[in-house]
């Protein structure tokens, strides 16, 4: 397939992945869904999935066209243990970014990370 050699290798400003906006999305959803929720090992897998889906949907609707999104949701129980989570990406730092938010209550902690990768 012959195609012209013009690529949009940079998103315009409005469409650029803005971590602050995404973070707000995450925060809103997570606060709404998890406030007062107790950790229940049977419900958490489903909860995690649905959270990830709703976060994905919401971020998709935020207008980041041409972005591939990866939503990672981790919910763990708070039992006084130490937890350390980190991520590393091989990407184009100019376009790609990520947003993360942490929610905690007495019973659980929830880490939601959204990675946006620009789709050239």
């Amino acid at each position: 397939m012959e195609e012209s050699d013009t690529y949009h290798i940079r998103p315009n400003h409005q469409q650029k992945f803005r971590p602050a906006v995404v973070k707000e999305c995450i925060r809103e959803i997570v606060r709404e869904r998890l406030s007062g929720v107790q950790y229940n090992p049977e419900e958490v897998p489903e909860l995690t999935r649905s959270l990830a889906d709703s976060v994905k949907d919401k971020v998709k609707n935020s207008g980041f066209d041409k972005y591939k999104l990866v939503v990672q949701v981790v919910i763990g129980e708070q039992r006084g243990q130490g937890v350390k989570m980190s991520s590393r990406c091989f990407w184009d730092a100019d376009t790609d970014s990520y947003a993360e938010d942490v929610f905690m209550n007495d019973s659980l902690f929830c880490v939601v990370a959204v990675f946006g990768s620009y789709y050239y």
């Binding site: 690529y7 006084g80 130490g82 937890v83 990406c89 990407w91 184009d92 942490v102 990370a113 050239y120």
Partner: protein
């Protein structure tokens, strides 16, 4: 023949199982797929299932039959072998040798495959003819329909069919022979190469083969049915023709193929081929002839059928079973055939073998076929005989076996030699395969349609076409093996192709993009870092939820992490010592600086108090000491002095021989009314020039009479001072009126350091300038003529204070003083001043109060002014005659400050009020009516009777007035012998005693109790002229210190103490006297 049959009977169950299994698979796979589009197919599948079920029943029946046969004992010789066979196919195979079996199987497989290929070729050609699958599919569908119709319709025709089947079988036999021939060649060729193939594949193919055979059978039946119904239906005719043509074509193809294949291998074969070809033509011809013959025979068959219907039926059924069994064991039979062939057993017992032999020789094929044809009836008959008994049993099952009619077609097959059966099997196989392939193709087409690209469909169909053609030899097995899943492969291949395209596209894209983009590893984002909860929090968490309650106390909320939370303990070192040594009884080596400063300030405060105390105390001490000394001196003096005054009990002389007081005349002496021991003396400026610059100044000395050695304070003023007075209460202020019309005051509390000091001789003297002066400041409101008198307006407080004033009044008591001062000048202007003490003095001088000395704290404010002269002038008749009226003296009524009394130069005392009050007597006059131009020189109110006052006049007359009466209570005209009265004062200790000093230095002491007409004592002090005198003494006490201070012209001040007679009085008498005098006067 029977043996074979029996052999086949034994293992009925096993192929059945296999077939069932296969069918299920088929239904699950192909049928299901077909079902989507073709309901008919589905029904066909169902019928197949039923068939399968029936077969099981058949096998049961077969066994019964077998038992029957055994009982008849007809086939005894075969029993042993049959028994052997019963053990199972595997065992049997083992017996024969696995090796051989395998190879045989393989061979068979090859055959099958070849047949399949042939079939495919056929298919191809057919497609070539028809050019479209769809049409064929329709045809097949149609065929199925027909099949059903036939099945439903007439079972009776089956007999005809079986007859025809004979013919067909013959044909098949011929074909089989050909095939065998071919197979032999091929087998030989492939034996070595195919040895290593897995048994499993073979098994699988065997299964497939079975399936095919079955289907093939069905198809055959269909075609036969079609043949039968040719008369009715033209389509059937076509079909039949089609089929025939197909067969012919196939045969030709096979020949060609065989030729092609075997050309390189055996010349012999080639020869055979050519022979075969020749023969083939015959065969075909023969075949056709057969068919025609069969058709011609049909009516006859029918007749036959009608005649022997039950038997036929029975036989049919039985044969059906056998055929089934046989079908199942075709492979085995085939194997046996092979066996026989291999062994080349020339026993020639059975036709079979003969046929085989013929087969080998090939030239004999037609003959063999004919033989087979002829043989058929015999076999049939045999069977009929054997199975006649079971007719009835099987009638019951008629309905069940409706669908097995197809298989009954094979009845004749059994009677025929096994070769045709094998051939039939192969044909079945091919048909079966075709069906399957068609199904697969259909499925693929569907799949392709779904994919939607014509290209891909072409490619797949092409592939399908090509594969049989070109990869026949090499891919045969593989294609067979994966035949069922082939379409998936195509789709996958297509998908692979598509994905490959996409991948390449993406790869190109990515390579182009990667030149533009830098990819790098991001930083490691820390998504969550949750530290482990420490032990305490864990404890709290666990126990916080438990049934325990925790309470804690925290002093310092911001120091929760501190271990020690109590306040720091302050420590300091202290010591005490008893008895105290040197610096004290206690101490603190390391006092904080702050504390030390604090202490110091406290100490300073204390020291101030101490200083003030010491000052006061030292004064007292000095006074006491001086008194003591003065008393001794005076006693000595008294004792030594012979010329002591008659009234005097002793005298004390103040030391006035001071350099600055030298040759100064004392114009005035004045005692404080509160502090009776304080006296001031006014020293007039000296006329003699001296070295001191103070000559022109008036000096006022403040004395403590108990401390006669030196004056307390020395006040200086530049001009002549006419009058003086002390502040009420404690002696802190001195007021003076000057000849230049100013009122000045001194604040005795000012520090001596603030004033001019002069060292004279060994002593240093401080000369105090006035604190406040009205000199130039209050010109408008001040006095324009010399001030003749200043008086403190007495207040009620002052009166009280007089009774009991402590010696050392605190400064606070006197500091807040506020009182009025009145000053009277010669012109009769009476000014009232308010004495104001400022809270703090200004060292730099006040910008507004120009009369205030820098650092001074007391000032005068002019409050009001009364022109006393007018009231004086408005006095009765004689005012005009007497010329200008001069106001000479001012006195206030001690009990009421609103009443003031002004002594004039007309001998009258004017009574005025400050607030316009009207007081009855306006004047106090002489007893004589006429006004005399004499000065009133002195007015003095009685300390005991405040409403009584004495007036001394310049003509020497003395009047005693009561405040309420114009006329005097008493008047003494010539007591001083005409000498003007200089001063006149009541005694402080006795109410009826007063002293009068006249200008001739005569001191007259009156005691009205003793004598109210003349003085009791008159003393003439001629030696040194007395310029002024003042009486002193504590009125409340009857002590001896009441006396008179005499100021001499020489500047000496002499204190004369009255004798007891003058000081100690009987108060009651005096009161009575004064009372009587006042009442007598009016």
């Amino acid at each position: 023949m029977y043996t074979d049959k029996k052999i086949t009977k034994e293992d009925t169950w096993r192929p059945a199982d296999l077939r069932r299994h296969i069918r299920e698979e088929e239904r699950g796979g192909d049928d299901a797929r077909r079902r989507d589009g073709y309901d008919r197919r589905y029904r066909g599948g169902e019928s197949a299932e039923r068939r399968h079920r029936d077969q099981e029943k058949e096998s049961r029946r077969e066994k019964d039959r077998l038992r029957e046969r055994e009982s008849t004992g007809r086939e005894r010789r075969d029993e042993g072998r049959r028994d052997r066979r019963k053990e199972g196919s595997q065992d049997r195979r083992a017996e024969r040798g696995n090796e051989r079996e395998k190879t045989r199987e393989r061979e068979r497989f090859v055959d099958v495959r070849k047949y399949g290929d042939d079939y495919r070729e056929n298919k191809e050609t057919r497609r070539d003819l028809e050019e479209k699958h769809d049409r064929e599919r329709d045809k097949e569908r149609h065929r199925d329909k027909e099949k059903e119709r036939v099945r439903d319709g007439d079972r009776h025709r089956e007999e005809d069919r079986s007859k025809r089947r004979d013919d067909i079988n013959k044909e098949r036999k011929r074909e089989e022979q050909d095939r065998e021939l071919r197979n032999d060649g091929e087998r030989r060729r492939h034996k070595e190469s195919r040895e290593g193939r897995g048994a499993q594949i073979e098994q699988h193919h065997r299964e497939e083969k079975d399936q095919h055979r079955e289907r093939h059978q069905n198809e055959y039946e269909d075609t036969r049915n079609a043949k039968e119904e040719r008369q009715r239906d033209m389509k059937h005719l076509e079909q039949k023709g089609d089929r025939e043509y197909k067969e012919e074509h196939r045969k030709r193809k096979e020949e060609r193929e065989q030729r092609h294949r075997e050309r390189g291998h055996h010349e012999e074969k080639q020869k055979h081929d050519s022979e075969y070809r020749e023969h083939r033509g015959e065969e075909i011809r023969h075949h056709r002839a057969d068919r025609e013959l069969a058709e011609r025979d049909r009516p006859k068959d029918r007749r036959y059928k009608e005649g022997e219907d039950p038997e036929n039926k029975h036989r049919e059924r039985r044969h059906k079973h056998e055929a089934d069994v046989e079908r199942k064991h075709k492979e085995r039979k085939h194997r046996e055939e092979d066996d026989h062939r291999d062994k080349r057993s020339s026993s020639g017992k059975s036709h079979e073998r003969n046929v085989e032999v013929d087969l080998v020789s090939e030239q004999w094929i037609p003959a063999v076929k004919h033989e087979a044809d002829t043989e058929e009836p015999q076999v049939d008959n045999d069977e009929d005989l054997a199975d006649q008994d079971y007719e009835d049993d099987f009638e019951d099952y008629e309905e069940d076996f409706e669908e097995l009619n197809e298989s009954t077609n094979e009845d004749e097959d059994e009677k025929e030699p096994l070769h045709p059966q094998a051939g039939e099997a192969k044909e079945e196989l091919s048909a079966q395969r075709r069906k399957e392939i068609e199904a697969i193709r259909r499925a693929m087409d569907e799949e392709n349609e779904r994919i939607g690209t014509t290209k891909s469909r072409q490619s797949t169909s092409r592939e399908e076409e090509e594969r049989p053609k070109w990869s026949r030899d090499t891919e045969k097995i593989q294609s067979r093996a994966s035949q069922r899943g082939k379409f998936i492969d195509f789709v996958a291949a297509k998908q692979r192709e598509v994905s490959k395209k996409v991948a390449s596209k993406q790869k190109k894209r990515s390579t182009e993009l990667l030149r533009l983009i830098d990819l790098d590893f991001s930083m490691t984002f820390s998504l969550l870092d949750l530290p482990p909860v420490n032990e305490y929090d864990m404890y709290i968490r666990n126990f916080g939820n438990a049934n325990t309650k925790q309470a804690y106390v925290q002093c310092n909320e911001d120091n929760t992490d501190r271990d020690i939370q109590t306040e720091e303990i302050e420590m300091s070192e202290k010591w005490t010592q008893h008895p105290p040594e040197r610096s004290g009884a206690c101490g603190d080596p390391n006092l904080s600086k702050e504390a030390r400063d604090k202490q110091r300030s406290e100490m300073n405060y204390d020291s101030q108090r101490l200083a003030s105390f010491l000052r006061s105390a030292s004064q007292v001490m000095v006074v006491l000491l001086e008194e003591d000394q003065a008393e001794r001196k005076s006693l000595e003096k008294l004792s030594t002095q012979s010329d002591t005054l008659s009234f005097s009990d002793g005298s004390l002389q103040l030391i006035t021989e001071l350099p600055f007081l030298y040759d100064r005349q004392i114009s005035m002496l004045h005692f404080s009314q509160v502090q009776k021991h304080t006296m001031l003396s006014v020293h007039m400026p000296t006329t003699k020039p001296s070295a001191k610059h103070l000559d022109s100044c008036t000096i006022i000395c403040i004395w403590n009479i108990w401390e006669p050695s030196r004056p307390q304070k020395i006040l200086v003023y530049e001009s002549e001072i006419q009058c003086c007075c002390f502040s009420p209460g404690k002696v802190t202020l001195v007021f003076a009126g000057t000849s230049v019309g100013s009122v000045v005051l001194w604040d005795l509390r000012e520090q001596s350091s603030n004033h001019y000091s002069l060292k004279m001789g060994e002593e240093e003297w401080t000369f105090r300038q006035p604190t406040f002066s009205t000199d130039a400041v209050l010109a408008a409101s001040g006095h324009l003529s010399s001030v003749t008198s200043v008086e403190v307006v007495p207040s009620a407080l002052a009166g009280e204070l007089r009774a009991d004033v402590p010696l050392l009044a605190s400064e606070e008591e006197s500091s807040g003083l506020s009182f009025q001062l009145a000053s009277l000048d010669e012109s009769g202007v009476l000014n009232f001043w308010v004495v104001v003490e400022l809270p703090k003095g200004n060292e730099a001088g006040s910008p507004t109060d120009l009369g205030l000395r820098p650092g001074g704290k007391v000032k005068l404010l002019h409050s009001s002014s009364v022109l006393a002269a007018e009231s004086l002038r408005g006095s009765p008749r004689d005012v005009v005659k007497t010329g200008p009226l001069h106001a000479l003296l001012l006195k206030f009524l001690p009990t009421d400050s609103n009443h003031f009394f002004i002594g004039t130069n007309m001998g009258l005392v004017h009574h005025g009020t400050s607030h316009g009050l009207k007081a009855p007597p306006k004047f106090y006059r002489f007893q004589e009516v006429e006004v005399q131009p004499v000065d009133v020189t002195s007015i003095h109110f009685s300390p005991f009777r405040p409403h009584l006052f004495l007036v001394g006049c310049g003509n020497g007359s003395i009047r005693l007035h009561a405040v309420s009466h114009e006329q005097p209570v008493a008047q003494w005209k010539n007591s001083t012998a005409g000498e003007p009265v200089v001063s006149l004062q009541w005694a402080q200790t006795r109410a009826t005693v007063f002293c009068v000093l006249d200008a001739a230095c005569n001191l007259h002491i009156w005691d009205l109790l003793k004598d109210d007409t003349q003085p009791v004592v008159t003393e003439r002090m001629s030696a040194d002229r007395v310029t002024d005198m003042a009486l002193f003494g504590q009125s409340g006490k009857q002590n001896t210190y009441s006396g008179v201070a005499l100021a001499h012209e020489s500047g000496k001040i002499e204190m004369q103490y009255f004798k007891r007679s003058l000081t100690v009085s009987s108060t009651a008498e005096e009161e009575k006297l004064l009372e009587r005098m006042t009442t007598e006067a009016f």
